[in-house]
């Protein structure tokens, strides 16, 4: 009896989490404009997406921003994590605190803060403003993921290398990077996902001349549900799923 309640409750919560998403996926293949009833299977809505030149351009923007900001965020985040772990320096606690602040602070605060910075220095909104913003909010996630992995590394490896005369940059290249690689890759994948999904910050620091995918989805969703949007969301859900599963498996790996 107790077990039945437990399992049906768990099923109910999972159903709540997944049914709305599954509905979008199913209806992206339904050959009807408005009705909820199943008509017939079609790829029509996907074909319409491919012919939408504006959408293709916006997707290309998102891909470029995502790859570049995830890469930069991974480099910065890894260096920050290594610095925090290996060195004792004045302001170390402040740096750690700043990283945590960036992660828990509501996105909208970061958005208005960056908008003010750009405005103050007359920095034009467009590709660069979005790239910097995305790098900034992804970098702390990489730093925390890498940091949690460094802490679990065998510190004797680094000590041994030091005793044998390795310099810090050699230790980074020969020991730390290979051992941290799974965490860095997971951080890259999560950063790319975050960049692909961000509406809050991009909404503030973008201009009509350079639009990215999440903003396009947002403006489409404001007009109401549509089969094309179902198809577009299905594609992004599929991409996200692959990225998350890959990141998840990297995080669990001991090393590559």
């Amino acid at each position: 009896m107790n077990r039945t309640i437990k399992y049906s409750y768990q099923t109910l919560v999972y159903a709540f989490l997944y049914i709305p998403i599954i509905v979008i996926i199913i209806f992206s293949f339904n050959d009807t404009l408005r009705s909820l009833l199943w008509q017939s299977f079609t790829f029509k809505w996907y074909q319409e997406l491919i012919h939408d030149t504006d959408l293709l351009k916006v997707s290309w923007h998102s891909l470029v921003v995502g790859v570049l900001s995830a890469t930069f965020a991974s480099i910065l985040g890894t260096l920050t994590a290594i610095g925090l772990h290996r060195y004792r320096f004045p302001g170390r606690k402040t740096m750690h605190g700043l990283i945590l602040f960036l992660i828990i602070v509501p996105d909208i605060v970061l958005a208005v803060a960056l908008l003010m910075l750009y405005n103050f220095f007359n920095f034009p909104l467009g590709f660069w403003s979005i790239f910097v913003a995305h790098t900034s909010f992804c970098m702390p996630f990489v730093a925390v993921m890498v940091l949690s992995r460094i802490k679990n590394l065998d510190s004797e490896l680094v000590e041994a290398a030091k005793d044998l005369g390795a310099s810090d940059s050699t230790i980074l290249r020969q020991i730390l990077l290979p051992l941290l690689l799974p965490a860095i890759l997971a951080g890259w994948l999560i950063s790319f996902t975050l960049s692909l999904d961000d509406v809050m910050i991009s909404f503030f620091v973008s201009s009509p001349a350079f639009q990215i995918l999440p903003l396009k989805i947002y403006s489409m969703a404001r007009l109401g549900a549509s089969p094309e949007l179902n198809a577009l969301c299905t594609i992004i859900l599929a991409i996200t799923l692959v990225l998350i599963l890959a990141a998840h498996s990297f995080m669990r790996k001991k090393s590559i």
């Binding site: 509905v23 910075l117 999440p214 799923l241």
Partner: protein
């Protein structure tokens, strides 16, 4: 590169980025919140507390109180739903646990915009809920669910539920189950076990989860914009409006500072209760 140079290189890169793109902008928000605007909507370098005084004005106060109420009740609902669920998963057999956990991690990282859109398609006039209710004969006219406060509340709960589930799970997974057995052996009722053992032990998880639900619930402006009606403005919408249409940046900045204060209070409360915890555990 020798070690000194390497150390300098690593730390200065991190410091430069964090200072220019995190510290300075945040300080700019705080400073601007104390500056005046003039009629041409420019910020002038005069100190004032006017922006904060304006926030307690009736119109804004109403938005604040509503944000607190909606975000607070959403957090509570997420907690009530998540608590038994996370407990169940964290103590399920090891064989299934990783897959059950993965099923929570996936929505955690999935775009909240797309998940909000998913709720839109469920609640719309010809959506699933109305169709089911109509065909069961419970209602005869489709209900107007979308663009109401109910839709907003459902949407927020749906979108933010994983952010409560994951911290709670992480906390409960480490719990020592023998404590509960011991208490039961000594004759404690189930309610006493919950009150005296479970809740105090899982408090870090409860606080971390609450923080991750409460703050976004007040600020994710696109959820009220997509699901709520004309009067469903929350704190995030207020800030968005001040910055992007009303052009009253100091007022928007003051609202943002208020959010930062909220966040620091919650974080302080969390760390006060878990002084020995690793600070990254909040994730």
């Amino acid at each position: 590169m020798n070690d000194r140079q390497f150390r300098f290189f690593t730390l200065s890169i991190s410091w430069t980025w964090l200072t220019v793109f995190a510290l300075v902008p945040t300080l700019m928000v705080i400073i601007t919140s104390f500056l005046e605007t003039n009629t041409t909507q420019n910020i002038t370098a005069h100190f004032t507390l006017e922006n904060y005084a304006e926030l307690v004005d009736v119109a804004y106060l109403k938005i604040f109180l509503r944000s607190l109420l909606i975000a607070g009740s959403c957090t509570l609902l997420c907690l009530i739903v998540s608590y038994p669920f996370a407990y169940g998963i964290s103590h399920s057999s090891l064989r299934y646990r990783s897959i059950l956990l993965l099923l929570v991690i996936i929505p955690f990282w999935t775009s909240s915009l797309i998940r909000t859109y998913a709720i839109m398609t469920i609640l719309k006039t010809k959506g699933i809920i109305n169709t089911i209710l109509l065909s069961l004969g419970i209602i005869h006219q489709p209900l107007q669910l979308l663009y109401t406060n109910i839709a907003l509340f459902i949407g927020l709960t749906y979108t933010l539920l994983p952010f409560m589930l994951l911290p709670l799970y992480a906390n409960m997974e480490k719990m020592d189950l023998t404590l509960i057995d011991a208490a039961r052996d000594l004759g404690a009722s189930k309610l006493t076990v919950l009150r005296k053992i479970l809740i105090p032990i899982t408090m870090p998880g409860i606080l971390a989860g609450s923080m991750m639900v409460f703050l976004p619930a007040m600020t994710l402006f696109y959820i009220p914009n997509l699901l709520g009606g004309a009067k469903s403005m929350l704190l995030g919408n207020l800030i968005q409006e001040q910055f992007l249409s009303a052009n009253n940046w100091p007022l928007g900045a003051a609202s943002s500072v208020l959010l930062i204060i909220f966040m620091l209070l919650l974080a302080h409360w969390y760390w006060q209760r878990n002084p020995d915890s690793d600070r990254t555990e909040l994730l």
